[in-house]
């Protein structure tokens, strides 16, 4: 099977790998542990799809996963499909990130490695949240870290891992 040039660019594993790295950093900041491997299927469809990323507008690190989810009907309708249909790309990004030493596996968690990137990933300034995927991923990671249980996070979002 082949992937056309525009699809490949949008789902670039290097870019998605950075998104995952930011998510894991955010998670660790809130919980002192690292996200489970299965949780890594969550951030890419949410922060890279503008339709869903917009639901993070007006939130901050203290908003929390439940409050964000419950106040976003758009999210409640779309999240299951978005996550399901993005599994291929996330998997490829995870493979790439592991091979490139962006993460290492410890038990079933992913530990983001310091110094994985020559320059620190940075969002453009002055943009809305849907154009700041790294900030969004970090924030989502913090919310998930506050819950700190993959099962509870998936249950809360109506997803089955």
């Amino acid at each position: 099977m082949t992937t056309s040039v525009d699809v490949y660019s949008q789902t670039n594993p290097a870019f998605l790998g950075v998104v995952l790295h930011e998510f894991a950093k955010g998670y660790h900041k809130a919980s002192d542990t690292y996200p489970s491997y299965v949780l890594m299927y969550l951030p890419c469809p949410i922060v890279v799809s503008k339709k869903l990323a917009r639901t993070l507008e007006g939130t901050n690190a203290t908003t929390g996963l439940a409050k964000w989810y419950l106040r976003s009907p758009e999210l409640q309708i779309n999240i299951v499909n978005e996550v399901r249909r993005s599994v291929t790309f996330t998997r490829r990004a995870l493979q790439y990130a592991l091979l490139s030493n962006v993460f290492k596996m410890r038990d079933s968690t992913l530990v983001p490695l310091d110094g994985a990137f020559k320059t620190k990933p940075k969002d453009p300034t002055g943009r809305r949240i849907e154009d700041r995927p790294f900030t969004a991923a970090n924030r989502l990671g913090q919310w998930c870290g506050q819950v700190d249980s993959a099962e509870r996070i998936f249950a809360l979002l109506g997803l089955r891992p």
Binding site: M1, T2, T3, S4, V5, D6, V7, Y8, Q10, T11, P13, C44, P45, V48, S49, K50, K51, L52, P73, E74, Q76, I77, N78, N81, E82, R84, R85, S86, T88, F89, R92, Q95, Y96, L99
Partner: protein
């Protein structure tokens, strides 16, 4: 024969119950909740006082409604028999018109604080008349065979008279008549009018159909106790949002359909142009290809920005386009293999023009109801650039082989 008609009537009656509850909910506020076959045919919770609706369905031309209507009195009797009836508002819905000059017309407004004195007097007079009329047994006893039983109306009239004057007034103020109602055949039309008028005109009918399909199933599940009995407006709105997404092609629109790049020259060159030259397409066709590819590329980028999930679907759609092209190119290449180069070019040119003029009407749409000609036209040009499709029967050998597949990546590559 008559039992068949009765069965049809009763099925239609139930269908109307379900459809009426949908129309009622669609006209109500966002906090509203309805249920079917609970305390009455339909129950609506909106604000502080629940509304019980009793429906009298008819597909024909029923006699006009007045204070002598058995169905109305039977319903009044049932409502009065509810122990806490003072906690409800009552709605009597009938397909019949209200009789000319009928005093019950003061019950037409929905407000519970309207002046209902004339209606109250009219109902009271009728109740007294019925009760004072001898029953058949009494008439026979009196040897007056003109008596009439009013078997259906009598218990309700008695219950109405048994209420205190204050309670009777309270009850009538809680009563609303809805005559000349739509019937089971008009549900979709009513729904479109009440609820879907903000949808694009071309999609309204389909959205309406799908809402009704879902609603019927939802009501049936509620009756089977497989889903909650009460259905909220927010549940209806959520379903509408889902259906809208499906019907409108997942919210995709042709954002770049009437736009073009500032400078076309940056879009030209490469295999795309070479392929058109191979079939003597001329400069205009090259410019046309460049413009359409720009539109398709930007639309695809816009959609993938909105949802990462479209990336996978667009990848699959490329395969559909390639297959449709191959079904035309392969037989053509076979048919012209013995012909001279001019004929081969001419047939190739026909295929190139097909990709622009007809393909978007002949190949499956990316999403149902989504018509974006440039998506098909421009993607074909991009595929021609990648040498995954071509116009000349022998395009692959004639183009530079080293470029073949250069921009395509295996899924398993990292």
């Amino acid at each position: 024969m008559s039992s068949n008609f009765e069965a049809a009537d009763s099925s239609l009656g139930f269908y109307f119950q379900s459809g009426f509850s949908l129309v009622l909910l669609s006209r109500s506020s966002d906090e509203a909740v309805v249920s079917v076959e609970t305390t009455d045919d339909v129950q609506l919770h909106e604000g502080t006082t629940p509304v019980l609706a009793q429906l009298k369905h008819s597909t024909g031309k029923p006699p006009a409604l007045n204070e002598k209507n058995d169905g109305l009195w039977k319903t009044i009797g049932n409502w009065i028999s509810i122990s806490d009836w003072h906690k409800y508002l009552f709605m009597f819905v009938t397909c019949a018109d209200l009789a000319d000059g009928c005093e019950l017309s003061s019950l037409l407004e929905k407000t519970p604080d309207r002046n209902v004195d004339s209606a109250l007097a009219c109902l009271l007079a009728e109740a007294k008349r019925v009760i004072e009329t001898p029953t058949v047994a009494e008439a026979e006893k009196l040897k007056d065979v003109t008596g009439y039983d009013y078997k259906i109306r009598r218990p309700a009239c008695q219950a109405f008279l048994d209420l205190s004057e204050k309670k009777r007034k309270l009850f009538v103020r809680r009563l609303t008549l809805v005559p000349s109602s739509f019937n089971a055949g008009d549900i979709k039309e009513q729904l479109l009018k009440a609820f879907l008028h903000t949808e694009p005109r071309r999609n309204r009918a389909e959205i309406g159909e799908r809402i009704i399909e879902w609603w019927d199933r939802r009501v049936a599940r509620a009756l089977l106790e497989k889903s909650p009995r009460e259905i909220s407006k927010s549940e209806l709105l959520e379903r509408l949002a889902e259906i809208r997404v499906v019907v409108l092609g997942h919210g995709l629109s042709d954002v770049y359909g009437d736009r073009g790049p500032k400078d076309l020259s940056a879009e030209m060159g490469g295999n795309m142009e070479r392929q058109i030259q191979l079939v003597n397409g001329g400069n205009y066709r090259i410019e046309r290809a460049a413009r359409e590819r720009w539109r398709a590329r930007n639309n695809r980028k816009h959609w993938m920005d909105e949802s990462l999930a479209f990336a996978d679907e667009l990848k699959e759609y490329n395969k559909v386009l390639i297959e449709e092209w191959r079904d035309r190119h392969a037989p053509m290449a076979h048919d012209v293999s013995e012909l001279d180069s001019t004929d081969q070019e001419s047939r190739g040119l026909e295929l190139l023009d097909w990709s622009h003029k007809s393909a978007y009407t002949e190949v499956p749409s990316f999403k149902p109801g989504l018509n974006v000609p440039s998506l098909v036209r421009g993607t074909y040009q991009q595929l021609a650039e990648e040498l995954l499709v071509g116009w000349h029967p022998d395009y692959l050998n004639l183009c530079t082989e080293t470029e073949a597949g250069m921009r395509w990546h295996d899924d398993n590559e990292c």
